[in-house]
Symmetry: C2
Subunit: 187 residues, 2 copies
Amino acid sequence: MAKAQFDKDNILDKTIMLFWQQGYHGTSMQDVTTTTGLKPGSLYNSFGNKEQLFIASLNRYSQRSADKMKRAMVHGAGEGIIMLLTDMVAAKGQKDYASCFIIKTQLELASTEPKLAQLAASYLSRTKAQYKLAIASEYGEALSEVYATSVMMAIFGIRVYGYQQAKEADMLESLRLSLHWLPWKKH
Amino acid sequence: MAKAQFDKDNILDKTIMLFWQQGYHGTSMQDVTTTTGLKPGSLYNSFGNKEQLFIASLNRYSQRSADKMKRAMVHGAGEGIIMLLTDMVAAKGQKDYASCFIIKTQLELASTEPKLAQLAASYLSRTKAQYKLAIASEYGEALSEVYATSVMMAIFGIRVYGYQQAKEADMLESLRLSLHWLPWKKH
DNA sequence: TATCTTTTTGAGTGTTTGTTCAAAATTGCT
DNA sequence: AGCAATTTTGAACAAACACTCAAAAAGATA
């Protein structure tokens, strides 16, 4: 029996970039074949169809996203959150800034592809639950719900505001003001 | 010479709903003809093409959005902002909640239709400038930039978080915490 | 009512879409 | 080496896409 001549994860990394930047409806399977170099037959043979390929891409992206969060949280909830938010603000400077794949999916597909939008929603919901857990251990159970909600809304704010021509310093100052309970370094 | 047998603004109100909910790439011109009842020829005769129809829709939407903001601001910057934010949180309860048309456009089209994305970006930028102006008159010039940034990020947060199954009370509590400088009513 | 301009009609344009398939090539197993 | 299972190939499919156009209809003006 013949083995696949390509690495699935390597292909997924490329489709992630496509779907992330252009969206689900904005990306054609021809885009995928030309970017990956795979012929249609190979593509469909190993990934099923467009929807399944999108799911696999979103899944891999969110896995990496969750890993990054976990790595940051070893510094404690407060410090970890500050690191993550600072990273997100810095990301806006990249030339091909594309917000967050999960958030974009949630917004684009809520009405036309509810199944995929719900998947994105569940990833976001899980992320919030993890923030809440980490916050609870450091700031107490009582405040954790509101604090976690604040963090999620701040993240969404950054992810959208990133497209605007705003100074990073202004965004960080605004975050410092909004999430004043975080252990920001004095300046 | 014959007169058009339909009201342009009435048609635009319908295309706004389509583009707003399904996005640019997720909406076909067939969707438009079936929803509006117009035949392709009439549609193209009075609106040009898909891109121009989208621009006209986005323009009308943002005009209404700006009007709503102006109406709220007669109560003063602080009170007005609270009213607008509270409205946005309440909107999330509607069964066909669709975030904000401008924000969705910015995210969806940044890479595939930069011209349209830039239009959305400029609307958002103008909105921020108006918030900044109103805030400056009430809180002073020095704070207005950071405060306006905070308000914009809060709006973006609400617009995305609206898809999540969160309690409105939690969101409002989070806003109250983040934008603590607004004149919230005691509770 | 007759004329002139504009709008509406609805079938039709070529292109792109997601997807399939039989044949050829490739690889693991005996 | 030979067989069997799997993958790759590249042309092809029907459906959906954005858009057009000649002819018919409608309305304003005279």
